[in-house]
């Protein structure tokens, strides 16, 4: 078997964005999130389910739905119809139908965060101190000074002051956005 490629190949532009998005999901849970253990994401299986509920016979309901009018069907899709002992598209649909009745949903909880309390407990007083505290707490390699200034400006602008004591009652969302920006800095990947 091939082994770990090593070096820096693990981080890609695609993964960098996904990791930043994950941080956002933790800080700002998405209320539209549908767990994948409750809903099948495959358009093909969804389409079979819909057609069967609409009353189509199994052969018509399990025709591949993505192939355009007058297009050649791929050999692998033809094989699924012709050579298998059973119809795999119907099998996938039935499998999901049975699974949804049996699978216990995974309990999911949002993170319990209170960044306002976190910074007040540290007895910080201004936005620059907050950024320096976040950098020290979350980053192993500090981002550049330009990023630090950007974060201080961002937080000060969001809460309308540099004095966090004044903003204590309403700064939670602003702190979370600031932390999201910090965790989206490329340097966070070195933590």
């Amino acid at each position: 078997m091939a082994g770990w490629a090593g070096g820096r190949s693990w981080i890609t532009p695609g993964l960098l964005l996904e990791r930043g998005n994950f941080a956002r999901d933790v800080l700002f849970p998405d209320i539209n999130f549908i767990p994948s253990d409750r809903r099948n994401g495959s358009r093909e299986i969804q389409s079979v389910a819909r057609r069967i509920r609409e009353g189509l016979d199994i052969t018509s309901a399990t025709q591949p739905s993505s192939i355009g009018e007058g297009q050649i069907m791929a050999e692998s899709n033809m094989l699924a119809d012709r050579d298998e002992d059973f119809n795999t598209r119907y099998g996938s649909f039935r499998g999901w139908q049975m699974a949804i009745e049996r699978v216990k949903p995974i309990p999911r909880h949002t993170a319990r965060l209170n960044l306002s309390k976190m910074v007040m407990d540290q007895q910080l007083t201004n936005t620059a101190e907050v950024i320096d505290y976040f950098i020290a707490r979350f980053m192993r390699v500090a981002p550049g000074t330009d990023a630090r200034s950007m974060l201080i400006d961002f937080l000060s602008n969001e809460i309308g002051t540099t004095n966090i004591v004044e903003a204590e009652s309403y700064m939670e969302d602003s702190l979370r956005m600031t932390l999201h920006l910090l965790l989206s800095q490329p340097e966070y990947q070195l933590s």
Binding site: A2, R8, S9, T12, P13, L17, N21, S66, Q71, L181
Partner: protein, 415 residues
Amino acid sequence: MKTKDLFKDKLKRREVLRKGMGALGIAGLAGSSLAPSMFGRVAEAAASAAANGKILVILELSGGNDGLNTVVPYGDDAYYRHRPEIGLPKSDLRILDDHFGLNPGMAGLEGLFKDGKMAIVHGCGYDNPSFSHFTSMAYWHTAAPNSGEEYGWVGRLADDMEPSAPANYLVNVAARQSLAVRSKSHVPVVFDQPNRFVREAFHEEKNALERVPDVGNVDNPSRRYLLDIARSANDASALVRQAWSNYNSPVDYGVNSLDLPKVVSLIDAGMPTKLYYVSYRNNAFDTHVFQNNVHRRLLTYTSDAVAAFIRDLERIGRADDVALMIFSEFGRRVPENVSLGTDHGAANAMFVVGSKVKGGHYGDLPSLTNLAEGDNLGHTTDFRRVYQTMIQGWLGHDAELGLLNGRFQPFDMFG
């Protein structure tokens, strides 16, 4: 808005910004080597892609494809002597001529061969072959057999073709970056799922997240690398995602599309990319046991995806601009093993597909009776000769000597 328009608008906006800043003579930016070139990059790349519209796509079949059961030399009795159990009988094959037949699963590639759009290059390999997936793949990735190279051959090719390293010149659809595309100057666009290749952010955060980090005075190499990755993500993600959401093809790619529809979506959207790299992932072709059924299926999926890719390119009117090169890190041993499979071998067939390809057989046939060490096929063609064919014959690039660590005569493969 269509992606093409989006792309043009972005170009215009950047062009205006660039000129605007030049006209105003903003001193702050003049001190940064990065900012002005950033704005010019997309424009430069679009211009060079227009000058020679040729695009090279590389498909890697990971795991070591069994070339002998892919392009079967049914006319040679020795094949059946070496493979009494897993040898494919002539009656099952898709006959190409009086010596070769394709694996029965390969309807798509049979069609392309018979339309004269597929070249088969026999006996590709290198001296002192490695039987390790990892090592041999690294040799193919770097075009440096039995030695080492820091950068991949596709990455070095990009450096040689476009030293100014415009954005989005090199795309690798993958979960992790291939060594083949690792480049000194370019930052390859690497993504897996286009719909997830997006920075999710609130309105207030957008400006802060689009900030381009200044790599100029960073000396920590890991940090510098990450800033480059971030820049590539900024440059590419909106275009890739837009291209993918606009892409809606009626073509049937079958069970495993091998990321080729993503390539078509980007070509159709007018991305300035010249070099694309995709793979059949996860060591799929490593068929040590009971190989015939699984190998046939793997070839069917590959063949479906490649044939669909060509039809899809025809649909968008870009078939003449694209050639696809297919390789694997090694072939498999000539005699079958006791588990009805085959073990790691040496020389192998490579494929080049495209509407401008002069179809047919290339390279000398390796002998099935006079085997190389370890019961393997001896190579008759250095694999880098095929790379050279793609560089010189297809892309029309006069590569710097030493790019492939040797001098190789290209095949006359393109009409």
